[in-house]
């Protein structure tokens, strides 16, 4: 069976093309000068330059984290270009002015950049290398008071909001990569939902790395005021290069009283070829602050790409009765390495959190769940339930679980369970006797395994994720 399954899991990456577009690329290397260049290019206010320089200075003093269960050669931070942007003439007013080459790229990727496009009802901010190229449905959202734009635009138009919240959830010096991101971030999405507004459509950002030797350092900031709610989607792809690109993003979410933020990711960066050459190093810090009472932050992620994933979307549950959720599917194949999980920090009274993590490893990959559930002394009545299941396909891969549970309050109830399984002969046999081939059977078993997570995804993403998993695992069987 193993051989049949091995055949199933080898599929080419279909987003691996490069768009031939004239780009404005900063020279490689990182110095104060690079940062001043980025800041000047983006016409940033003085405080933001100061923010960047402070981050850079603290980054210089920091060391790369070594505790993750991943192996990679040392990253040469001076060999990366920290700014790459498709050349554009002036600021765009409408989609029709976008470079047709770019439009074609996103057409190919299935991302709707036209407001009349098929997947109407989703507002999209599109980020190409270091800059945001387009945001759809801006005006419709503005009617209800929602601000949805690229972060560079937000810096220009709403500096007081950005200044107030930027770095408030993920401090600059949080870790090595947040410091790096804070110093050199180029673009990202900014989203502000005012008091009492339920966002009428899903918001979405699509990230694309196009330039070789560049890194992508995006910064996303989402603020939901009292009683607001929003569902936000994120997708990412990159071309095939035989070198590794660095992607070090920071995402900050802030939910005030009774606010609700749902953040969904389908991560499909280029994962390298079957020998582990090339692929994205995805070192991301995502954190949500459930600041107000009854606020809720929910992370859902489907991680299928990247050579290395190092990502722990976290919830700081500060408000009373606040809720944190984490639903994750991580699929690794070939030589991919994923060290991913979540942190749930319970601070407020009666805070609740749920963790559901499904790891699937195939080929020579390594898949680790690393999670922290921390109940501080003040968090009376805190409640956590964690479940992490792993599935192994083949005997060359590994599945690891590192759950840290720290409880400082005796009224807390914390439960954790984990299991490891494989796709059994008997399961495939059962399908076969009902006339279902191995390929469809594996796809069905995996979808069943991941059901708890897929149910949390918005509809379009659930379809995409299901296809993505079966696509990653489909192939010819001999």
């Amino acid at each position: 069976m193993s051989a049949a399954l091995q055949n199933l899991v080898n599929q080419p990456y279909k987003h691996g093309f490069v768009t031939d577009i004239e780009s404005d690329v900063a020279p490689k290397g990182l110095s104060e000068q690079t940062i001043r260049l980025i800041s000047a290019k983006k016409n940033e206010p003085e405080w933001l330059l100061e923010f960047r320089l402070n981050a850079y200075r603290s980054w210089l003093k920091m060391e790369e984290p070594k505790w993750a269960n991943v192996k990679h050669p040392r990253i040469d931070f001076q060999a990366i270009s920290y700014y790459a942007a498709p050349k554009q003439k002036a600021k765009l007013k409408s989609m029709d002015e976008v470079d047709p080459e770019l439009l074609r790229t996103f057409e190919k990727l299935g991302v709707p950049m036209h407001e009349r496009a098929a997947l109407a009802g989703v507002a999209v901010d599109v980020i190409f290398d270091s800059v945001s190229v387009a945001t759809t449905y801006k005006h419709k959202l503005a009617e209800v008071g929602i601000i949805f734009c690229s972060i560079s635009e937000a810096v220009q138009h709403y500096p007081e909001l950005v200044q107030k919240y930027l770095g408030s959830v993920v401090p600059v010096g949080d870790n090595f990569y947040t410091a790096l991101n804070s110093a050199v971030f180029t673009d990202g999405s900014f989203c502000f939902i005012p008091k009492g507004v339920k966002c009428p459509m899903d918001l979405s950002t699509y990230f694309r790395i196009n330039t070789q030797d560049s890194g992508q350092f995006e910064r996303t900031l989402i603020i939901a005021e009292e009683g607001a709610s929003v569902s936000y989607l994120e997708g990412c792809t990159a071309p095939k290069f035989d070198t590794n690109q660095l992607h070090a993003a920071v995402v900050e979410l802030i939910a005030l009283d009774n606010a609700d933020i749902k953040y969904s990711t389908v991560q499909n960066w280029y994962a390298g070829d079957e020998n582990g050459v090339g692929g994205i190093y995805n070192f991301v810090t995502k954190r949500g602050l459930a600041k107000g009472v009854n606020s809720r932050i929910s992370w859902t992620q489907v991680e299928t790409g990247s050579a290395i994933t190092w990502k722990y979307p976290s919830c700081v549950l500060l408000g009373e009765n606040s809720v944190g959720e984490f639903y994750s599917v991580a699929l690794t194949n070939h030589h991919q390495q994923a060290d991913t999980g979540t942190k749930m920090i319970h601070i407020g009274k009666n805070t609740r959190s749920t963790i559901v993590s499904k790891g699937i490893s195939a080929g020579h990959s390594s898949n680790s769940y690393r999670g922290l559930v921390k109940v501080t002394p003040a968090a009376a009545g805190a409640r956590n339930y964690s479940q992490c299941d792993s599935m192994l396909i083949g005997d060359q891969c590994s599945a690891n679980t590192f759950p840290y549970i720290q409880v400082r309050n005796n009224s807390a109830v914390v439960e954790h369970e984990a299991s490891t399984s494989k796709i059994g002969e008997d399961q495939l046999f059962y399908f076969a006797q009902r006339g279902i081939g191995a390929e469809a059977a594996v796809s069905m078993i995996i979808n069943g395994f991941c059901k708890d997570v897929f149910q949390q995804l918005p509809l379009e993403f659930a379809v995409e994720a299901t296809n993505l998993l079966s696509f990653k695992l489909e192939g010819s069987i001999g």
Partner: protein, 436 residues
Amino acid sequence: MNTVRVPATIAEGYLESLLAGQPRLPASPLAWLNKLRADAVDRVGVLTVPTLRDEEWRFTDISPLTKLSFHPASEPARLHPADIERFYIEEANTRLVFVDGVYAPQLSSVAADGVVVANLGAAATDRAIAAHLGQHATFHDNVFAALNTAFLHDAALIMVPHNMTAGAPVHLLFIATQREAASYPRCLLLAESGSAVTLIEDYVALQEAAYFTNAVTEIALADNARVDHIRVQREGAQAFHIANCAVSLARASRYHSVSVALGARISRYDLNVLQTAEGTQCTVDGLALIANNQLADTHTCIDHAQPHGVSRQQHKCIVGGSAHAVFNGKIMVRPGAQRTDSSQASHNLLLSGSAHVDTKPQLEIFADDVKCTHGATVGQLDSEEVFYLRSRGLSESAARNMLTYAFGAEIIERIPVASLRHRLAQTVLQQTTIQP
């Protein structure tokens, strides 16, 4: 004996001070033993005292230990059997007593039932000992095992011959009598093929001041051997207890361990079980019952290096006062260790508002045809259960004690020695009664 303050920052100096008495150890007539000690001394010179920055010691701050200076135990006090009779276990007719780490023959008794039980000095000529002593509990990266090996002089040796089932448990009693003394208990158990034995490792104290116990136990099971290992740590309230135990399992051998931690201000127990051949079974159970400002840390690693291994683990902590319990249980399934069947559970009961627990059940799996599960829970007593008992006429405190006792009893009941089981059950009952 005056206590010398040692700044925690100069940990190397601290280790040197611990090593101070080492050169006074009489050289052994055995060259390999002298070399083993010398190697260990060299290693101590290279290693440093672990701090919270070391992943393995993240939750256990042993800086209080490094603030005190300990000296090797001096001439042990002459104890009379009457002083220690209360520690005897009636089923065990073979008993080795070590006072502050030094063998006390006048207190020991060895039954002539075929099992070789002796102090290292008497039996060290056996070739099997050189092949095993210091080979399982390696000290290359472990400063405490290295310190113990550097001071290796007296040690309990138990050899169970081929196909022999020991009729009675072997009781090792380690008694601490001196304040500010560092003792280095050591034990080696060799169970030859087809043999079976029950070993009781028992740490007690006759005084309440601070002292330091640094123990190392090595257990090697040959094919089809069976060992029941019971470990009771009831050190004094100010004691520091750091212990390493390494177990090696050969084909189709079975190892069952129950460790109970009751005493010591700071205790740490590292248990490493290595399955070196196919078809081994191990059951590793533990209970930590602590209160006040105690810290009990248990680190276990069950290494499934070969196929068809089975492991079961259940660890429980009952934490009162402002005590702190730590559990880190690693299950490793190496490449090729197919058909491994492993389950692990960590259950923690917090009795007071300032008690806390850090637990980390950890799975590392490199084979696909395996069954591995783990679970962890942290909570307090169920109010509905308390209500149920109260509705039956029990007082609030009696109800709580009964439930707490029942939580711990699940582990105690797995001890295969009736009198010890009974005595520990009584201890748990008393302890839970005292607590608020």
